[in-house]
């Protein structure tokens, strides 16, 4: 069956609300491709949690599945409640950089620390797009935004290295210009036992590209591709300070650590003996 | 008067809340009504702490004590703060090494609870229960059987034996003067 036809099984048929050229639509397509390639016939075994921001609209209400569209930043703790009660379900969080790395950052770190068996997909457009283009924790240094009219004066945060050190089982970063690598990464993330995190650096033509002087989406995608360097490149180390290069690649934890559900099951067993 | 108001006070960490809890539980085992409340500072150790127990044959309406019949003071500072509302005919129980400045006109029972706990049991931790032993024998407010049962129900399993020993050490104690 053609993948496009197959993917209709995954969608409600409600049109996505994204601006023309938005990376959100690309991420939705690639995610469904990954799910399709993993052999899922529908999304019945999935629960999607998302917060507030453009990326949160990827699953809710468009995916034909259970979805919980939470308050801003709280998709991960809501997902925690769902996963602990129903460990049999595949719980996936979608969110933007503001949602996941800004207001909801502490939940992200703690979910990684706990090795909560969920997948978080962060669409990083380097800006608060929905609210009109304000500076984000991911905005490259010196960028003009509506709240940094003389250029942003804070370095961006590197989610990849943060989560690898916080205890995540799988971490990856790609851009919307790396569709093939992204598809494979999402498949790995969805099949990884434990906490997995995929960052997709994505274009926001409306609130970011336009103001950075990109003429069109094609130019933005070209920029995403040319700025990308492999994560193990020594040059990648300077990334967090500059935010102008995008270190792409994967991190896989070699030692298997128990998931939060497994740890709690152990505790329940211990409690039963007392 | 069927209502007896007891205050056990000291510093955070001396186990005054637990002592009050044991006393209240023992009273309930004897078929009486009991309410225990407490007050303590934000610091886990060292600030003034009190535990108050009301024991009555009637239903206890107001749960806080207003004129104290029996007060146990495990520290000088606690005694100084809380002695003001002890009744004239009330009785005072003090840790004799830690409380030395006593009110002039009041029946005072001096119990070397901390010293006994440290010397006999190797730690000051059980001074609260040593004190309860002496308190039980002198006041006869609750029976020693009820107290022993309440101790078993209130302390951690691994400290049961030593707490019962502490209670007995206090119970057989002759008062020091």
């Amino acid at each position: 069956m053609s993948s496009a036809a197959q993917r209709k099984q995954f969608l409600r048929g409600i049109p996505f609300p994204f601006c023309a050229g938005c990376g959100g639509a690309t991420v939705a397509t690639v995610f469904l491709k990954a799910v399709d390639e993993l052999g899922f016939k529908d999304l019945r075994s999935f629960v999607f949690c998302s917060g507030i921001g453009c990326a949160s609209w990827i699953p809710s209400p468009h995916f034909k599945a259970d979805s919980i569209h939470t308050t801003h930043g709280r998709s991960i703790p809501v997902a925690t409640g769902v996963k602990l009660v129903r460990p049999d379900l595949n719980v996936v969080v979608f969110g933007g950089d503001g949602d996941v790395l800004g207001i909801g950052l502490s939940h992200l770190i703690h979910a990684a620390r706990r090795n909560l068996d969920i997948t978080v997909i962060m669409v990083n457009n380097m800006i608060y797009g929905m609210t009109g283009g304000q500076v984000a924790a991911t905005t490259p240094l010196g960028t003009w935004t509506t709240t940094t009219p003389y250029g942003s004066y804070e370095p961006p945060l590197d989610a990849f290295r943060l989560l690898a050190s916080a205890g995540a089982s799988y971490v990856a970063r790609w851009t919307t210009a790396h569709m093939a690598e992204l598809t494979e990464s999402l498949k790995t993330a969805l099949t990884t036992k434990g906490f997995s995190f995929v960052e997709v650096v994505s274009q926001c033509p409306t609130a970011f590209g336009r103001r950075r002087g990109f003429k069109n989406v094609k130019e933005m995608l070209r920029w995403l591709k040319t700025q990308s360097i492999p994560i193990d490149d020594p040059e990648a180390a300077s990334m967090p300070e500059q935010g102008e290069t995008i270190a792409v690649g994967e991190f896989r934890r070699r030692t298997v650590i128990p998931t939060l559900t497994e740890s709690i099951q152990q505790v329940t067993k211990r409690a039963g003996k007392q | 008067m069927s209502r007896t108001e007891v205050r056990i006070c000291g510093l955070g960490g001396q186990g005054v809340v637990l002592a009050g809890q044991i006393l209240g539980r023992a009273a309930v085992y004897m078929g009486k009504n009991a309410v225990q409340t407490q007050s303590y500072g934000a610091e886990a150790r060292g600030s003034a702490a009190k535990s108050e127990v009301i024991i009555s044959s009637d239903r206890i309406l107001f749960p806080k004590i207003r004129s104290c019949d029996l007060m146990v003071a495990m520290s000088q500072s606690a005694l100084d703060v809380y002695v003001h509302d002890v009744k004239e005919e009330g009785q005072l129980f003090v840790d004799s090494d830690l409380v030395t400045k006593l009110p002039p006109s009041m029946e005072v029972h001096k119990v070397a609870a901390t010293r006994i706990s440290r010397c006999e049991l190797g730690s000051a931790t059980f001074a609260n229960v040593v004190m309860l032993g002496a308190f039980t024998r002198i006041t006869r407010l609750v029976s020693s059987d009820a107290m022993e049962k309440a101790i078993s129900e209130s302390v951690a399993a691994k400290t049961k034996t030593v707490n019962h020993k502490a209670f007995q050490l206090g119970f057989v104690l002759r008062e020091s003067h």
Partner: protein
């Protein structure tokens, strides 16, 4: 340890009784963050929930605590969190979310002396209005107020029942005194306790409308549930432009509680028929009223009271009934007139309303103070 507490009499702390009430009500998920004077609830459930196949998790803050409770509730499990003032403030956004998404859950606020860190270990009753109006937008609260260790157990079960029956968050508003107090409690046999549980929808039945309290699906059951805090239609789809959808939704959400308000109003009353002096109180303060009324009666002053076991919806009919008889209505509370104004609104001139307010140090208003106020007020008449 057994699954549920065996029937019998116990000498137990309020917070522990609350936790046991939750277990008896069927709560199988608890998330919380340490805070005085609520922590014993989390500590006790950490011991107890694994025995009954439940989960207790300490989250990174109170925001995450309530958010995970909401997630667990949508996964089909009765869930609860417990906190005190500062944490209750942090939870307000999610309380609005739970209300808007019709998520049954129980939120315990053990009140201490605020605002801010205030007197962290001392009791207070200053969160009464926050419990009613804490989140933004229009909504209705169900708030219960226990005044004994027995009621910590009983009202927790009631809180879960109301949450499940009305598909809404229910707030159990305790206070430091009642939570930390130890007294006797009688645990009834399990089959003597009514336990209510949400009903799932039939296939195709809307679960965000169609009826005042719609049935509730769980995720993972094939319903393709869409849950959102944005304004949504009967099947959960976002409708953020149409004013009629918003108006219909929020009016129904408030309405489902208003319609049932009469049955929810639960008060303890005494001598409403012929009293000269009436007291209106709730929580720990009501324990002083019991004794004051006894003393006044002994002294020949006819006194009565209404004790609010449900604070919100506000039990107007009881307050009105008291004000029709009593010439003076005294309102003692450990805050600066939060319920007083509400009583004044309902009494509406039918009687003189006298506030008695005491804050700080966790000290209760005493029966002596109340008798004094009552005598002074009646002398002036």
């Amino acid at each position: 340890m057994s699954k549920v507490l065996s029937p019998g009499t116990y000498f137990m702390q309020g917070n522990k009784a609350l936790a046991e009430g939750a277990v008896a009500a069927g709560c199988r998920f608890f998330a919380g963050y340490p805070i005085t004077p609520a922590s014993e609830i989390a500590e006790h459930l950490a011991v107890r929930l694994p025995h009954v196949g439940g989960i207790m998790i300490q989250m990174e803050d109170e925001i995450a605590s309530l958010a995970s409770v909401i997630g667990a509730s949508w996964a089909g499990t009765k869930s609860m969190t417990a906190t005190s003032g500062p944490g209750f403030s942090l939870m307000q956004e999610s309380i609005g979310y739970a209300f808007m998404t019709e998520t049954p859950c129980v939120i315990v606020d053990v009140q201490r002396a605020g605002p801010s860190t205030g007197q962290a270990t001392k009791g207070g009753q200053g969160d009464v209005m926050q419990a009613r109006w804490g989140t933004h937008g229009d909504y209705a609260s169900i708030v219960l107020s226990p005044n004994s260790v027995q009621e910590m157990y009983d009202l927790t079960i009631r809180a879960f029942n109301l949450a499940e029956e009305f598909r809404t968050p229910v707030i159990l508003l305790s206070d430091e005194v009642t939570s930390h107090m130890r007294e006797q409690i009688t645990v009834p046999p399990a089959d003597h306790v009514e336990i209510r549980t949400r009903t799932p929808p039939r296939v195709g039945e809307p679960y965000f409308g169609g009826t005042l309290v719609p049935p509730m699906p769980s995720v993972g059951e094939g319903f393709d549930v869409v849950v959102t805090g944005s304004t949504h239609n009967e099947v959960g789809l976002r409708f953020t432009a149409d004013p009629t959808v918003h108006s219909a939704l929020v009016t129904r959400l408030v309405g489902k509680i208003e319609v049932a308000a009469q049955s929810m109003m639960d008060c303890e009353t005494f001598n409403l028929d012929g009293c000269d002096v009436g007291f209106i109180s709730f929580g720990c303060t009501s324990r002083a009223v019991y004794e004051a009324v006894e003393t006044l009666e002994e002294q020949g002053i006819s006194a009565g009271f209404v004790r609010l076991r449900t604070i919100w919806p506000f039990p107007e009919k009881y307050v009105r009934e008291l004000a029709e008889q009593a010439r003076v209505v005294i309102v003692p509370e450990m805050n600066l007139k939060q319920i007083y104004y509400e009583v004044q609104r309902v009494v509406d001139g039918a009687a003189r309303v006298v506030p008695v307010n005491q804050i700080g140090g966790g000290e209760l208003v005493t029966p002596e103070t109340l008798c004094h106020v009552a005598k002074e007020a009646t002398d002036k008449l």
